[in-house]
Amino acid sequence: MFRAAFRTLRSQFLHFVMPAIAVVLGVGFATGSLIYTQSLDEAMTLATITSQPDVSVIVRPDASPGSPDGPLDDRLLDRLRALPGAAAARGTAEGRSFLVGSDGALVGSLGWAGGVNYVASADGRDHRYPITAGRGPHDRGEIAVDRRSAERAGYRVGEQVRIVVNGTARDARLVGVFTAHDPRLTAGGSLTAFDTATARRQFSPTPDGYTAITLTAASGTSEEILAERAAKLLPPGLEAVTRSALDAEAAPADDKLSMLLLGFAGIALFVSTFLIANTFTMLSAARAREHALLRAIGATRSYVMRLVLAEALLVGAIASFAGYLLGIGVAAVLNTLFGTTVDAAPPLRFFTAGPLLAAFAVGIGVSALSAYLPARRASAVAPVAALRTGSPATPASLRRRNAAGLAVTALGALLTLAAIGTQDLLYIGPPVLMVGLIILTPLLAMGLAKAARAPLTRLAGMRGTLAAENARRNPRRSGATATALMIGFALVCTITVGISSLSHHAEQEAENRMAGDLRVTAVDFADISADTAGRIARLPGAEAVTPVIDAPIRLADDRFLQASAVNPAGVARLGALTVLQGSLEHLDDGVAVTEDAATAHGWKLGSRVSGTFARDERKIDLPIVAIYDGPDTFTPALLSTRRLPTARTAADRPFISAVFVKAAPGREGALRRDIQRALDNPALLVQSRAEVRQEAGRPFVPLMNIMYALLSITVLIGALGVVNTMSMAVYERVREIGVLRALGMDRRRVGVVLWLESAVISVLGAGLGVVVGSLIGAAAVLSQEGAALVIPWTRLAFFFAAAVAIGVLASLGPGSRAARIPMLRALRSPVE
């Protein structure tokens, strides 16, 4: 069986090239994603497990809201250390700390920039952070950093370096460089070690506290027992967690990413099924007589079916192998595409059972599945067909398929429309719509070809007529080819419309939140120090300055008021608010609320707002002194920063989301430079109104580009589908082409006929894809509350043109092959 299949494969080698490449691409994409995400996972897990090998139990605040009833302080540390079965205990104080490189930019992946305390044991060293050069830090002016970050930052031991902790940039002397097994480093972040006293001051929520206490179990004591014993000592709000539980907690690297990648790989594979099915359908038709002969001499139906399926399996297996090799390359590309920084990319593990199995399962599965229907059709050939001459029987009528297609398409369109009101339908409507269109493509292909006949004939004479006729002579194949293009371009357009709208929405929103001339914000994961607004206010040309500090209040009726604390005088002079009733003058002793909030809570000027601050449950009870309207940043309620509970430690400070500044007329540029110079902190951004808007839209550009990059595989497979179909057309029409050449059609025109046909199919695929994709994107946008639909017409038009161009380009190869067909051989060719 397989030998026969192998022989077919060898003799029909060229026919299998395109479908095989499609499978190779799909499998490569899928295994590349698997290899990459698995390597990432394993690297993270390994780093988690090998980090801090002496930790058996960790004591930390539990997930309950509010601060714990007792502090994580030295007294608790001593009591835990004294527990039976505890060999050692260590107080850790960790938080965020950024390293500024010698080029002035922050180093490494900001989400993973950590600050830790260096705890010297008896021998003067901290075994978690083995020093490779210099020594551990001793006081506030000294730090040690991990080796890779030191290299990336361009610092050597002994140099002054700049760091950002708690929103403030300062200088420190680099006294040591260490290596460490730490998931933060694996993920591309940096570690900065401080002496314990400094770390506690910076990171601990209480002045003399820690952020966690770790215990080492004595030999003979299990983690669980030690954790149990520790738990008994702990006040409510603290918990003791075993090491194994902690490791299990370490989230797998990025589940969303792997789902996304596999999703796109799945789409690419789905599109390749159309190519494979087209090829096997064509071959089954071309070999109908051969199959009939087999049946006539006694082969069973299932034998013929297995024969065809065996070919598909072989193609799948070979393509899977090649796909796996490609996957290794894809993983490397993904590693650089998504790896936070190139040199922090995890080592890839190329040969693991999971991806290897997946590659073969997917490759062979997809091939066999897509060849199933053609194989069944091949096996259904009647033995007498072997004796009949002339063309094979015409394929079954499309009537039932068309009826089903119309019904499903209509249903999908309705569901997609309905999704505008009911977001959940977004997961059902568009897929149903796509399936409907896929079923309908043969009808659409026939319709379009019929409609295109007259204009094409006018445009290109006999060539146009032939092209239009050829496009509709095998509507199933034309439809499947258009489908492969359609899916890729539909996704591209959905994403284009969706992300463009999101981006525009974000820009609009940022604009709505802006006040004054300049805004100071922290980069992701960093924050703004409490004295920032004060320092800016002292600069010449700063007319009005106010911080905006989150101060959510839990009202007496248990509802939340998302209030912000501001500098009343600053806000008033910023001129961003319209006071409707009362005045901001007495905001130091009261609360201002928006009209909406007043209505929602039934407040009037003079009503009392009473409740507790959500952060630390301190009481607040103030009268409403003003009712106003203003940008989103300042809604729905304002109070004075003076009313905020004072922070006890650096780590306990309130969260400042932004500082808004109004410049004296004509001083904006100068003030902006002054602010940057005064703060000297690369973790803070100083932006004008226009930049704020831009900044809000900025993250969408790489997002869109990554989506395009991922979808390019699917589009490429769609293009291969056109090449495949056109090659098959040439193969099947060798004799016709010979006749045309004999009757006087020159070589160039033979190519023109083919690319006009290809253009018809591409216009169908591209048109459907762009229209349906844009509609789905629009439905998705409209289903989001408050989002405005933005349709980037030029870009969509470009995609349409690109799709048509791809289709036409794809026909050039087969076209030139057709033109080179030796005429006499063509005339003698037995293929009809």
Partner: protein, 259 residues
């Protein structure tokens, strides 16, 4: 004017000619001499049958003369044009403007209607067909009521008649027919032969027909006999029995030929 055609050659003028035509296929062991020096003239309005056993070089001779294949040496002329001097593009143009073809396997384009097939050569050449002439032709061919049908909806005989109309429609200088009756039953075959006969006699169409059927050859004005790539005999006004006799004679001299 690129589509201009030469004026009809006076009756009896030479429309096509071969001079010492040779064709060699392959090299070394696989070397086959298909044509070993063939010379012949074809005059205006003349209906010539080319006869010979299988493998004698009939098709090769026709292909070389019709600009479908290039001879190894010697010359093939259509009118005053020496085909050997032409590149592919010019050959294509000559075929388009001066030559009509009728094939054994009909070779109609399945996607076009009968009428579109008939006008295809003119469309390729960018010419308009004389409507009156076309109507006359369609009436003669007996396919006037089948013009909107696709080839698949026509019988073999009807298809070959459409193919004949296609070859004659643009009044080419010469029509080549390769075994035009080979795929037809005897009645349809006879109809097609009668049509060719009348095209030559009544319309002055020059026709060269390759066949190995003595009955077919009997419709021609003369028969040329090929054997082993050479013309071995010329027979004016052939009859079925005379041709049969000649063929027997040839077969006797060619023990290697198998039918």
């Amino acid at each position: 004017m690129m589509n201009q055609r030469i004026d009809p050659v006076p009756s009896g003028a030479v429309v096509a000619a071969a001079d010492d035509l040779t064709k060699v296929y392959g090299e070394g062991e696989a070397r086959v001499i298909a044509l070993a020096g063939v010379s012949a003239r074809f005059r205006q309005g003349e209906f010539t049958a080319i006869m010979g056993p299988s493998g004698s070089g009939k098709s090769t001779f026709m292909h070389c003369l019709a600009g479908l294949d290039t001879p190894t040496s010697g010359s093939a002329r259509i009118g005053e044009i020496d085909l050997a001097q032409l590149d592919d593009a010019r050959l294509t143009k000559v075929r388009r403007e001066r030559i009509g073809f009728i094939f054994q396997a009909f070779n109609l384009l399945p996607t076009l209607t009968a009428l579109e097939n008939i006008t295809l050569p003119a469309a390729l050449a960018g010419q308009n067909i004389d409507r009156k002439w076309l109507d006359h032709l369609l009436a003669t061919m007996g396919i006037a009521d089948r013009l909107d049908h696709r080839p698949a909806q026509l019988s073999g005989g009807q298809q070959q008649r459409v193919a004949c109309a296609r070859a004659l429609a643009s009044r080419p200088a010469i029509v080549f027919a390769d075994e035009p009756t080979g795929n037809l039953d005897s009645r349809s075959g006879a109809e097609v032969l009668a049509l060719l006969r009348s095209a030559s006699r009544d319309m002055g169409q020059t026709i060269v027909m390759v066949t190995h059927d003595p009955v077919a050859a009997a419709h021609a004005d003369r028969a040329l006999f090929l054997a082993d790539g050479r013309i071995v005999h010329e027979m004016p006004r052939p009859t079925t029995s005379a041709v049969l006799e000649q063929m027997k004679h040839l077969d006797a001299h060619q023990p290697s030929a198998s039918l």
